[in-house]
């Protein structure tokens, strides 16, 4: 059996998961919020893109220029109005509220849309492929998403490590009360981080909508993949998230090469192995509770 092909497809699939998990990782890293509605916001963004595409007759990529900023604004408002109130000593309120948001979004999508599978089309690009040596065919779009994920993660990690705002984000993540005494209201940083995460979720939603089909309830599965990528990679580490996403992608595609119906199960099994033997993930960074 040729495993090189599923290996490469899996790595590329990891790009999609990494793109998706980056926002989740960011929100957790800055605010210690586990956003259970994250997958549903990606699906919401995919539906939003579909609506813009049909209304304005433009390509989904062009529609993203409208949808991504709109999602960022939604994230900002959501943080200032609802999520901010859930922050505190216990993680429970934010889990309950984001779980509630997840149910609301799924039902709103069912109400105003339908339960049909939808797909975003890029014309010919989404099915185009290039042939690599050893007769391995690689989709142009998955390759593009993989490279995009690396670019976005590079920008995020450069900003966090080297810039004044990155320092501020790390400071807020460490001790928000002290940041307040250094002249910055942590709530603003929280809202900004959420806005960035929601902009990312719009990009991830588009990518998922092109590569696979979606319906109002696909968010839950996307969330699980993002979770698994973040945990395999190690909480709070962006590059760890990319590694985790690639491991998950490879596990799924290699698993599918052996038993096509068990693609998702294979991913879950690898995830469970990590939980059992490397519970802190690849990067082994200890995270404050």
């Amino acid at each position: 059996m040729n495993l090189l092909d599923p290996l490469i497809q899996g790595i590329l699939l990891g790009g999609l998961y990494a793109l998706f998990a980056a926002g989740l990782s960011l929100m957790f890293g800055v605010m210690r919020i586990v956003n259970l509605a994250y997958g549903d916001f990606a699906v919401l963004a995919a539906y939003g893109t579909l609506i813009v595409v049909n209304a304005a007759l433009i390509s989904p990529l062009a529609a993203l220029l409208i949808v991504a900023p709109a999602m960022a604004v939604l994230g900002y408002i959501l943080q200032r109005t609802i999520l901010q109130r859930t922050l505190g000593l216990s993680p429970l309120p934010s889990l309950l509220v984001t779980f509630g948001l997840s149910i609301i979004i799924q039902n709103l999508l069912l109400m105003f849309g339908s339960a049909d599978q939808k797909r975003l089309s890029l014309g010919g690009v989404d099915t185009a492929s290039i042939t690599l040596p050893f007769d391995i065919r690689v989709g142009v779009f998955p390759l593009f998403i993989f490279l995009l994920a690396i670019v976005i993660l590079s920008i995020l990690s450069w900003v966090t490590a080297k810039t004044q705002y990155g320092r501020l984000v790390r400071a807020v993540s460490d001790d928000p009360a002290t940041v307040d005494l250094q002249g910055v209201n942590p709530k603003q940083i929280y809202a900004l981080a959420t806005a960035i995460a929601f902009g990312l979720v719009a990009i991830a939603g588009l990518a998922a909508g092109v590569q696979t089909s979606f319906n109002p309830t696909s968010g839950s599965m996307l969330l699980i993949f993002a979770f698994e990528a973040v945990i395999i990679g190690g909480l709070g580490s962006l590059w760890g998230t990319l590694g985790g996403a690639m491991i998950l992608g490879v596990a799924q595609t290699v698993g599918a090469a052996f038993a096509p119906a068990q693609q998702i199960l294979a991913g879950h099994l690898v995830f469970l192995l990590f939980l059992a033997f490397l519970p802190n993930g690849l990067t082994r960074r200890k995270v404050r509770a």
Binding site: Q164, L168, R170, D174, D175, A177, D180, L181, Q182, G183
Partner: protein, 267 residues
């Protein structure tokens, strides 16, 4: 008519539950002063600094900065408008380096950018003698160095008013004069200082005025030696015979530097 003071509190009060920690507190601080505050534990000294710094709200009364009511402003607003605090228990950003900790203050509290922010941060770092640790994570610092970093962070904020809460506690006898020199230098550069301290001889070396607090009220106020010699302060704070002559002075001079064993809160 005298001009408005730099900082003024009117009827300032703070209650924690039923405990009135600060009551009817009137204070005028002129620009350029070094105001020392002493008082027994629980007198409300730290609460006073926290209420002025904005991390604790006032229950009653007003705080005026340049004759402008700032009572309802946030701690971050006050940090941006020149009020910086060095707290008794240091809380550095543990996962960041010493220099990065200071850059957060100089960039956002002092609103400096680029080279200017770096100069401020490096200047603050040098003035407390931490330049050898610039790229070490704050979590690797000993408690005493964390206290230095806490002072440096307040300096990096380029303050107009510097609030210091027991920064000499734990220093050795030879380190206290260095600290006094630092505060004198900061004061000479035009910064107004309000300094709470139990190491009284450090305070009297630099303070232009001394206040003794007890039960959230002013017990005595004025020229430092006069306050220390007043009968009330002698009995309430120094625990001396109120009528004895010159005892206070010798007590202050001979007092060991109170090597306090503080719990390491970051352990």
């Amino acid at each position: 008519m005298s001009s408005a003071p730099l900082l003024e509190t009117q009827n300032l009060g703070r209650k924690f539950g039923q405990l009135q920690v600060l009551s009817d507190f009137d204070l005028r601080v002129e620009a350029g002063e070094v105001l020392g505050i002493i008082g027994p534990n629980g007198a409300g000294k730290s609460t006073l600094l926290s209420v002025i710094g904005g991390s604790v709200g006032a229950s009653t009364g007003r705080i005026l900065l340049d004759n402008e009511d700032i009572t309802r402003t946030s701690a971050s607003w006050r940090a941006r408008h020149g009020i910086a605090t060095s707290y008794q228990i240091p809380r550095p950003f543990l996962e960041m380096t010493v220099l990065e900790n200071l850059l957060v203050a100089s960039t956002f509290a002092a609103n400096a950018r680029g080279k200017k922010a770096e100069d401020l941060a490096i200047g603050a770092m040098k003035s407390v003698g931490l330049e050898g640790y610039a790229n070490n994570p704050a979590s690797s610092l000993r408690l005493l160095d964390r206290k230095r970093l806490e002072v440096a962070r307040a300096l990096a904020a380029n303050p107009r008013i510097l609030l210091l809460d027991e920064i000499a506690g734990g220093l050795t006898e030879s380190e206290v004069p260095e600290l006094v020199d630092l505060i004198r230098h900061v004061s000479a550069s035009g910064v107004t200082v309000i300094w709470i301290e139990h190491v009284v001889h450090a305070l009297t070396a630099v303070a232009t005025r001394l206040i003794c607090l007890t039960y959230g009220r002013i017990l005595a106020e004025g020229e430092p030696q006069a306050v220390l010699n007043s009968p009330e302060v002698r009995s309430v704070y120094l625990g001396l015979d109120p009528d004895g002559e010159n005892e206070a002075e010798s007590f202050v001079k001979n007092r060991p530097s109170e090597v306090q064993k503080e719990p390491n809160t970051h352990a």
